[in-house]
Point group: C2
Chain length 854, copies 2
């Protein structure tokens, strides 16, 4: 086991060169002793230490001001209730600890001239990021109304947690935040996403001990095993144990250091523990710890980049332990020790507003004033209210300020992908439904060539399903990322691999988010049902995108592309648990200007859609298409036109000529498309003279009224497709309500009869719902006849036949475990003759692999 | 640090009494040596070992049969393609390993007479559970058509992954499964939920190494810290490292044992590693490991229950390390070593169907036959096809069989809660809107008394928000569960505490699911926005409930109750990230017979709704209500009637007399209710003579047509409430599409104009959407006037006034950070006079606490 030199003793403080061999346990012991003795020796000179301490106090002052003050920001007058906000909101608990870390990182940046991205994990970290960005000047640069003086300070205070203002969490408004910080658990996975392919970057990721209890955070630690120190940057986790959540203690704060050391070593880190509340001892120890971590990171990277063992040695990234810091400091540090006789600093009572009711309680008002004056604002800020020069000098060089580095505003780093000509990935389709193919295969080739042309800023993520999802062509461009020793049996795995597979939807989504947020491109693919595991993460990312539109200085990001391949309709064998279409339901809750939902019906449409998605900016694009061999409908040219319209009538499957149809069979999704086309075939065969129109929808958003979604199709075009009053039987991949909601406001909306996922199938066990999906064509045909008055009686024979077929099929599949021949061998035929074999695989289409069909 | 005696050396095999002092590292070393040398000594006699081995082979045989055979189940004829299923589905990879564990657990149960619940974590573990339940007879007991003979064997094979049959995952059809196993990640959290308050139970939880990569699984390990050995049972995790997922290796399989030992010790476990593929050595070592684990568990429990240190010592559950097993065995163990010249056993190629194309490839067919015959079925099953007697004798005593213990069919253990009289939790409401109160406070008292009356089968879970959610009365009945040393400063924390708080929605939901699935009652509360973190888990639980309805022998379970208190409308201060209403969208995708959604508008309705929820069975109940002080509308009696109807007109707020209204103002949700009532007040004040009807909906499902949801209100009642054609302005708590979808099929559905969450607010930043929620009344009033033709012109003054008020309010709150006085002080008045103070707190209503308002 190779480990960076994390060993540190109290004797070693102040020196970074000559390190005695001390075990980490002894090091920790020394830290604790140093803490207890208040030892102040360390890497910081007296002057530097004094100024850093005061800079910290300035940040702390600003945090208190944000929570309490609407006026008198510098306390140049005695504090009155008129200066206090009517509602006291915000969270003091995490503020001072994070300010402490921020100030120390500034020192490291200034000394080492390194690029550090600050990621704030703890909940309600907004005040810290606002305060520190304001102090370093980056806040005013993007918010010119928040000037770096007393007026700006007042405006900052007034904007915090007030109407039209800024939230208590970090978010896009503050230039030193790279993500939406409101929902806990994603800081660490975003940190790793940020440093992939950014070899010069260190993401300093502060993990709160509340956040540390979430499952996504716990599962993120293993990301370190996927790091390649040769090409990737580093994450420096700073686990901040301040002891309490809202009202209870935190698990890791109540865990002995020895067990924490076991745990984090087992996870691949070498923790340094800095613990206490003594000053200036904590400053010296934390500065020493940071120096040691920085040196450790550089040591690992330098060795790897020089080609030395062990990194690069058969991909043994497990053989490295990366540095991290465990910081134990009091919750609400430097705040009121006691309020109304109850202890506050260091307890859960410091979580939010430690002095409540300030407007009604003169004693609390006085205590607040005393607390704020304890930071000596008059000695921190000059006459204009700007930070005094000796403290301003601590600010890192302008471009390295954590609120100014481009990684925190990734769009500044974004370059367009080098895209191959997408027409090269056309599948030859001799006629509608004349060949079958696995739709994602051509996409795999497309992604392979994108990966080749963009070797440093494009990655593909997924839960071990790249092969299974028929995207395996990408392995011709790159291997899977190795996370441990490789074996001869392994398939396309190496330390340099760029296809990132881990059986965790959270990590796939989170890594990709971090990668995109720092200016790169990518996609991930997964089971449709299990995409819902990250409903909440996608929501937060979409909220980030939505809010970023308010800030012109937030440059556009590449879209988040999610490919749902093993979809609900084709999980018959896996069973009911694998059948859910709700990911799209959730995504569609977000505002229309950040969300796009696509249902390409075949391979050529899929390539078209993906080309569009990869060129788009600031969207969440969800693309759903099956991976099983299925009918191919459109030539590449037809697909291009169809996709650019978003929806169009398919003439080959329609019989309405130039006139008004009897019924519109609409469809969105590959299985519903096949079923709708087959239903049209059945109707035309069995009800001569029927006028059917088949409309396929590939871009779901066009269904909505333009008043509801700017992306919606204009009413004239909509009615040209769907008519004004003809019944529409809509075969939809997902929940019926999505379509009902989409067509709300369209002419005669009650005529839309949606057959969605849950509505298909008629038999008793849920498991059947999908096995029987090839029965949907009969249901659709019966529905169509029921809703066309002119045919209701004349076509009753056909209707009876379809019902009989339903019953026959149901019995047949239970006996033979496959579809009836007339369904198994069905294909589109212009003369409505029956076929006795299904169509062949498309020309040049690879055979399915044997071992990866999960 | 106290630890159970996990030390084991090769010399120790075969003896369980006299254990030499050997370090775990040495123990592991000894295991590995023993493995390499094929040592067969151990606790199993030759005879027992031989029979256990053959029992295992029988289980393996049955797994292969499920995947491949539709006929000739015992290979009494030469194998022909006619015997092979047309589609080969299922997963061999995990089967033999899990069979191995199952057989060994049977031995432990038989010898120790202990109750063990098997929880199958690895994906696609269905074949194992089916096979083992069939062998022990429990399968046939619940599925009489699957007889314990050759006919039943054939029927079992034919049902596996075929239409109308059973899925490839464990699920409710198999009596030894306690949960839906399709979505990976929840086995361990369910295991802990199962053993809380079941002191005699051991949940043997097999965690697959694929599953081990998921975040929910990783975050579940810490559950052990919440276990109280005095009152709870034990979880025995068996981490099964078989090396590969679908096509890539697994992270933990590629992690050195030393690092795994660090990791799991840090997590609170003492791992025993059993590794290899040598036989019978693996049997002996695994048996010894199980014996040691069992003894270790009993030792911890006995000491704790005798009151000995360290458990119970100030709640120091962190001072115990619980036993676990890490089993490294080959993927696809005992299957084909090679296929077509490529290695299969022990590789990712064994994941699914190791011999593909058997129907087309005679060599594969022959290899399949040889493989199946290698288990010697003729020596395992008698002439009838039943397991031969010497092997049947290994089956545990009937009631202890893992497919027969009631824990796996928790409804058998369910007893109704002792409920206090819910009328005792009435809030005195002197008139509609005359007092304000925090709705959850009375619910807290109700839960407190339920907890007191049901000290062993009711728990409350939440992410550290019990206090914040105003449920703190429960702490009068029980503390929070301690997970480490307690400090004097701690608030209501002790080892015996039964209120379970952890900052993880996954654990809250998962523990509760496990607790309910094993026959108990409970609820959890959380932020509405972050409930979406567990969208996917709730989906799987609802699917379990839905499928259980197919099996009468699956006894009803207590409903899963989720209280969403910090809801989207009241998270102004926390910001946009905290505002999302999508949890209900997701839940409503499930079938109506397993889902109920409630929006109680006040405290008395909340108590009524919760009383109903806690008495209900087999539902997911989602109850959304705010925790902030808000208007109280209904007396307890009125609330009881209102809730039992699900929706009713509120006469006090209506002005339609006995006639048809001009407009219906409908509302669901507490904030929308206030706004709708206020809108009615505004309309009546400013548009004299207007006929408004206010309809409040508390049980959302009643809106749906009875054809769509059996729970829906009949059309006559619906039209009595909403009329047939009067415009309805519907103020809804969540997404508009829910209401549109619900009212689909009702008379003139296009007249429903829904104002949902995203539609409220008019200004630029998303953060405003909620701060401005008190502006919604004006929007609703304007909408109402716009949709009533008879008023459109005559009421234009009123409409202009409302618009002007909207603009005034928008400016006012940005200056003063609170609502305009006429909104701040508004209350319902019968004479439409304005009020200059808001109503008082309800009588006896406790004041909000200072420190827990997060």
């Amino acid at each position: 086991m190779y480990t960076f030199n994390a060993r540190l003793s109290s004797a070693d403080l102040g020196s970074t060169s000559d390190t005695p061999e001390v075990s980490p346990e002894a090091s920790e012991q020394a830290f604790r002793q140093a803490s207890q003795q208040g030892i102040a020796a360390g890497p910081l000179s007296d002057d530097l230490l004094d100024r850093m301490h005061r800079y910290w106090q300035a940040a702390n002052y600003l945090c208190v001001g944000q929570i309490y003050l609407k006026d008198n920001p510098l306390l140049r007058e005695p504090l009155l209730t008129a200066h206090i906000k009517p509602r006291l909101l915000g969270h003091w608990g995490t503020s001072a600890g994070q300010n402490f870390i921020y100030v120390h990182l500034n020192r490291l940046i200034s000394e080492q001239r390194c690029e550090i991205l600050y990621i704030s994990g703890p909940g309600h970290g907004g005040p810290t990021l606002n305060a520190c960005a304001w102090l370093e000047g980056s806040y005013s640069e993007v918010h010119p109304d928040i000037t770096p003086d007393v007026h700006g300070m007042r405006a900052l205070f007034r904007s915090f947690s007030t109407p039209g203002g800024i939230p208590s969490h970090c978010g896009p408004h503050t230039p030193n935040s790279m993500h939406e910080g409101g929902e806990l658990g994603y800081s660490l996975v975003h940190a790793f996403g940020a440093v992939f392919d950014h070899p010069g970057l260190i993401a300093a990721c502060v993990v709160g001990d509340g956040e540390a209890e979430t499952c996504p955070l716990e599962g993120s630690w293993k990301s370190v095993r996927f790091l390649d120190p040769r090409r990737d940057g580093a994450v420096l986790p700073i686990l901040h144990l301040n002891g309490y959540k809202i009202s209870g203690p935190t698990l890791e704060a109540r865990t002995e250091n020895a067990a924490l050391v076991d745990l984090y070593r087992g996870r691949g880190y070498e923790p340094i523990i800095v613990e206490g509340d003594d000053l200036p001892g904590m400053h010296q120890r934390f500065a020493a710890a940071l120096d040691r971590c920085h040196a450790g990171i550089r040591d690992i990277q330098d060795r790897a980049r020089r080609g030395e063992a062990p990194v690069g040695d058969a991909g043994r990234t497990d053989a490295v332990r990366w540095p991290m810091i465990i910081l134990r400091s009091p919750k609400g540090w430097t705040g009121p020790k006691e309020v109304d006789g109850l202890p506050v600093e260091g307890t859960f009572r410091a979580h939010q507003v430690p002095l409540a009711g300030v407007n009604e309680n003169p004693a609390h008002l006085a205590q607040l004033e005393a607390w704020m004056r304890s930071y000596a604002p008059e000695a921190l800020f000059d006459r204009d209210g700007a930070l005094i020069e000796p403290l301003r000098a601590l600010t890192p060089p302008a471009k390295l300020r954590m609120g100014a580095i481009p990684y925190a505003n990734g769009g500044r780093l974004l370059t367009a992908l080098e895209m191959p000509e997408f027409g090269d990935y056309a599948l030859e389709v001799p006629g509608p439904g004349r060949v079958i193919a696995e739709a994602p295969r051509k996409l795999g080739e497309f992604l392979r060539d994108i990966m080749r042309r963009n070797p440093r800023n494009f990655r593909v993520f997924g839960p071990d399903e790249t092969n299974s999802n028929r995207l395996n062509a990408v392995f011709e461009a790159s291997d899977r990322t190795a996370f441990g020793p490789t074996l001869p049996i392994d398939d396309h795995i190496s330390a340099g691999g760029r296809v990132m597979e881990v059986l965790s939807e959270h990590l796939c989504e989170g890594w990709l988010e971090g990668y995109l947020l720092t200016g790169r491109h990518g996609m991930w693919s997964t089971y449709e049902a299990f995409a819902q595991v990250v409903d909440s993460m996608v929501t937060q990312h979409a909220k980030w995108l939505q809010q970023c539109r308010e800030f012109a200085w937030r440059r556009p990001l590449a879209s988040l592309n999610v490919l749902l391949t093993s979809h609900a309709w084709r999980n018959d064998h896996n069973g009911f648990s694998h059948q859910s279409t709700g990911f799209v339901d959730n995504v569609l809750q977000r505002r229309a200007d950040v969300v796009r939902v696509y249902y390409p019906p075949d391979s050529n449409c899929l390539v078209n859609v993906f080309d569009h998605c990869l060129r788009s900016r600031n969207y969440v694009n969800v693309v759903t298409v099956g991976k099983q061999p299925d009918f191919q409908w459109l030539t590449f040219e037809a697909a291009l036109e169809h996709c650019s319209r978003g929806a169009s009538a398919w003439d080959f499957a329609s019989s309405d000529g130039d006139g008004e149809p009897d019924v519109v069979l609409a469809c969105a999704g590959d299985v519903p498309t096949t079923e709708a086309v087959a239903a049209s075939w059945l109707l035309q065969k069995h009800v001569p003279g029927i006028r059917v129109r088949v409309v396929n929808v590939v871009d779901l958003g066009v269904l909505a009224s333009p008043e509801a979604r700017p992306h919606g199709m204009d009413h004239q075009s909509f009615e040209a497709l769907f008519t004004q009053d003809v019944p529409v039987i809509f075969a939809y991949h997902g929940s019926t309500w999505i379509i009902h909601s989409m067509v709300h406001g369209r002419a005669n909306e009650a005529r839309f009869h949606v057959r969605g996922f849950a509505d298909y199938g008629t038999t008793t066990t849920p498991f059947d719902m999908v096995v029987l999906n090839r029965m949907s064509r009969y249901h659709l045909a019966i529905d169509a006849l029921r809703h066309v008055p002119r045919l209701r009686s004349s076509a009753s024979d056909a209707s009876d036949f379809f019902s009989a077929q339903l019953r026959r099929h149901d019995a047949y599949i239970r006996e033979h475990f496959e579809d009836m021949p007339e369904i198994r061998n069905w294909r589109w035929t212009d003369d409505f003759s029956e076929s006795d074999t299904p169509p062949p695989l498309a020309k040049g289409h690879p055979r399915a692999q044997t071992f990866s069909d999960a």
